[in-house]
């Protein structure tokens, strides 16, 4: 039996199972039971980060560390940061008064493993401009139960190259639990994301594989987005396979209750979304269990649907070259009505009001490529063995709100394949 699976099963067995799942404060373990470390012991950890040399191993012994400044590893190479175990070493940033994240890493070939990061006011752990970054068996979460105070991203590599996230856990972030942005060569595997607005998100990245993960009880399970106007202007090549994407029906708490979405795209996600593609390119989704996501199993959308300006250099708002095949689906519940996209699905889907969908396609296409979407100009290919049992909706939204139509026929998108090339060989060099 392989080890990662065992580990995940252990986690699962320790979870308190909340049946409703609309909101959750579930924790993996109670960190307040750990011995509290003294000011001197805490200052040693801070100093170890500051004084670290290339090749160093920073060991953080068991205990609960209350850290009131940021832990920053600054432009070092071949450094390992090692706790005494995910449930044994806890770095709490609940008293941090300034700084964008709890832990920040810059460098080359950095590994951080076997610890927990709690309650950072901004992001939990951020790695930037790092070639070779491994997050292994880390847990990043917010514990105070008031989700409106939780941070943005839990595990946040950005502008990195060769990123491995494995056997890690991310929960309760107000945006994405595991968020990889503007990076290339990425593997996210055997990890768990729950209670976040978005479980796992790959944004403006090239060459990513997301597999063997559990994304459950988030508002959205797994997302592939490309946003406009960024230094890494677009991204392509993502495989999402063998994941459990289940019960992602958590309320969307990215904005306070009762407040409309703001400019953060994640605030628009309708609770009950399994997988969402937004302006994504070259994505293959297969072998996943996509179960009981109340709004839709998979949503394929173009950026125009956000209503935001959709022009930027070296970037396309359209989602294109998508291959969806051999996934398992289970429908349960009623689509979300708190977000516009939930309302669209609930009211205008092709199968009847308030019916959960398995796959929805916004049907927005680049008219310079074809006059008709029937020719499948954006190259969306769906090859599900039980397609006849699935609820598929393709919308027609090209005339705006006045004339919304929907179609249940998957045939224009059924007789094709897309070959998505990814390469995870970099992992052996980490």
């Amino acid at each position: 039996m392989n080890k990662p699976k065992t580990l995940l099963l252990t986690y699962l067995s320790t979870f308190l199972l909340f049946a409703c799942g609309e909101t959750s404060n579930e924790q993996l373990f109670d960190s307040s039971l750990l011995p509290k470390r003294s000011i001197e012991e805490t200052e040693k950890v801070i100093k170890d980060f500051i004084m670290a040399e290339d090749g160093a191993t920073i060991e953080i012994p068991e205990g609960f560390y209350e850290i009131n400044t940021q832990l920053i590893l600054d432009n070092k190479s071949n450094v390992t940061i090692k706790g005494a175990g995910l449930k044994n070493t806890v770095l709490s940033f609940r008293n941090l008064k300034t700084g964008g994240e709890g832990v920040k890493i810059v460098g080359n070939n950095i590994t951080i493993e076997d610890l927990t990061i709690e309650d950072a006011p901004g992001d939990g752990i951020k790695a930037q401009h790092t070639d070779g970054i491994t997050f292994r068996r880390i847990n990043v979460t917010w514990t105070h139960g008031d989700k409106s105070k939780n941070g943005t991203y839990a595990i946040y590599p950005v502008q990195c190259k060769n990123v491995l996230i494995e056997e890690s856990v991310a929960s309760h972030s107000r945006d994405a639990g595991i968020y990889v942005g503007q990076s290339e060569n990425i593997v996210v595997k055997n990890s768990l994301a729950f209670g976040n607005v978005a479980g796992i998100e790959i944004e403006n990245c090239d060459n990513a594989e997301v597999f063997g993960n559990i994304a459950r009880n988030n508002a959205g399970g797994i997302l592939v987005f490309n946003l406009p106007g960024l230094p890494k202007s677009d991204g392509k090549g993502t495989k999402i396979y063998n994941n459990q994407i289940i019960d992602n029906n958590h309320e969307n708490f990215a904005t306070p209750l009762g407040e409309d979405p703001n400019g953060n795209t994640v605030t628009m996600i309708p609770p009950g979304s399994g997988v969402i593609l937004l302006a994504a390119k070259e994505v293959e989704i297969y072998g996943n269990e996509i179960l009981r996501n109340k709004t839709t199993g998979i949503a394929v959308a173009s950026y125009q649907i956000t209503g935001f300006p959709s022009e930027a250099p070296n970037w396309s708002p359209y989602t294109s070259d998508v291959y969806i095949h051999d996934n398992q689906y289970e429908r349960k519940g009623f689509p979300d009505l708190t977000r516009e996209m939930g309302q669209l699905i609930s009211i205008y889907n092709a199968h009847g009001k308030a019916k959960t969908q398995d796959i929805v396609y916004d049907g927005i296409w680049d008219e310079s490529l074809s006059e008709s979407i029937e020719t499948n100009p954006m190259n969306l290919c769906i090859s599900e063995p039980k397609i006849s049992e699935l609820l598929f909706t393709r919308f027609y939204l090209m005339d705006g709100d006045d004339n919304i139509e929907s179609f249940d026929d998957p045939n224009p998108f059924s007789n094709c394949k897309v070959s998505v090339n990814t390469d995870k060989s970099f992992v052996s060099g980490l």
Binding site: G99, G151, V158
Partner: protein, 364 residues
């Protein structure tokens, strides 16, 4: 001369040590008292020193910050807001060496030291009156590049000690309106310095760039362009004509055009991160003084990773509508996670918010 400096340092550190020893106030995590510190520190040229006095930057009583002969006073045209702290800045070149301009940027000799003192007058109406010095930050150009060393002053104002992990001080002062103010002043840890002092992940000065120093300044006996002055005293090569180089204005000068003041403010306060070479390049928001691309300036641009920082707003800058602009929302907050800049500010810079508000109002 050297011996004299050394003995001065010796006496000062002794004074400091005794002062700490007999101080009743407990300052845990700010100043450590261990027996090893009672040993004198030698000015051996191996930086960093543990005590600020060892550098012998200042003549006479150190709290007067009266610069030694080899320190040159400088001042950027606009100042980065740091919780209303006042700053005095000096540069020290290694003996007999000078800087040169390469492609319009400074190339300093190894051993150059930038000395920046942060202090609060007890009464802001009496700028020259009694004051409390909080910290002195050194940027030292070492073989491997710039290194940052924060020194925290003791309450007796007799010395400051290197404290790489930073610290926190409560500061009281009377503001210009005569109101009592309390600031929870945070001294960054050494690696936090690079959150702002960062160019392509290398430590870099912020104020000491040609665009900020290419301006006129009063010296002890003259008024003139400070880089021309550096040239005259043989500390800078290659600076021919001030007109050839960019020169930022002082955003506080209300007689100058609003858009130029706004860009000067955004440049000195934001662009160290919000530029292609800075850590906030991830956001796609670029705030250098010469940025012209509306999207990069945040105009009708959606945020990327702003999280709660976005408030209830959709765009970074909404022309004509400061109250709907994320930029104003974040400048006008002290909540960690919302407040921008992320470091060095626990109070709102009202004048700065007002300036950027007016600028956004003026946009069409």
């Amino acid at each position: 001369m050297l011996i004299q400096k050394k003995s001065l340092a010796f006496i000062s550190s002794l004074v400091a040590v005794f002062a700490i020893f007999f101080s009743c106030k407990k300052e845990e995590s700010i100043v450590e008292t261990t027996t090893s510190e009672i040993e004198t520190e030698e000015a051996d040229g191996l930086y960093p020193y543990k005590w600020l006095t060892t550098y012998a930057f200042f003549d006479g009583e150190i709290s007067n910050l009266n610069p030694a002969e080899d320190l040159i006073f400088y001042k950027p045209s606009s100042s980065l807001f740091t919780d209303y702290a006042h700053k005095t800045r000096f540069i020290q070149f290694p003996e007999g060496e000078k800087a040169k301009l390469v492609n319009g940027e400074f190339d300093f000799p190894e051993g150059t030291i930038l000395v920046k003192n942060f202090y609060y007058p007890l009464d802001f109406k009496k700028q020259e009156g009694e004051r409390r010095i909080i910290e002195t930050r050194l940027l030292i150009l070492e073989e491997s590049g710039w290194e940052a060393y924060p020194y925290i002053w003791n309450d007796e104002q007799t010395n400051a000690q290197l404290k790489v992990i930073g610290g926190q001080k409560e500061v009281h002062f009377k503001d210009l309106e005569g109101k009592d103010q309390v600031v929870d002043y945070l001294i960054p840890n050494r690696n936090q310095c690079k959150t702002c002092h960062n160019k392509n992940e290398e430590m870099a000065p912020i104020g000491v760039q040609v665009k900020h120093l290419n301006n006129d300044l009063d010296f002890q006996d003259q008024h003139g362009n400070q880089l021309e002055y550096w040239s005259q005293i043989g500390k800078l090569d290659g600076f021919e004509d001030p007109g050839q180089y960019p020169s930022l204005i002082n955003y506080e000068n209300e007689s100058l055009p609003l858009d130029e003041r706004a860009m000067a403010y955004l440049d000195i306060n934001c662009s160290h991160c919000h530029r292609t070479e800075g850590p906030a390049s991830t956001s796609g928001l670029f705030l250098t003084y010469n940025e012209k691309d509306p999207m990069k300036l945040g105009i009708n641009k959606t945020p990327v990773a702003a999280g709660i920082g976005a408030g209830s707003h959709k765009f970074d800058v909404v022309p004509g509508k400061p109250e709907e602009s994320i930029v104003i929302h974040r400048m006008n907050s002290t909540e960690v996670g919302v407040a921008m800049p992320e470091l060095g500010r626990t109070t709102i810079h009202k004048e700065g918010v007002e300036l950027i508000r007016n600028w956004i109002k003026s946009l069409e």
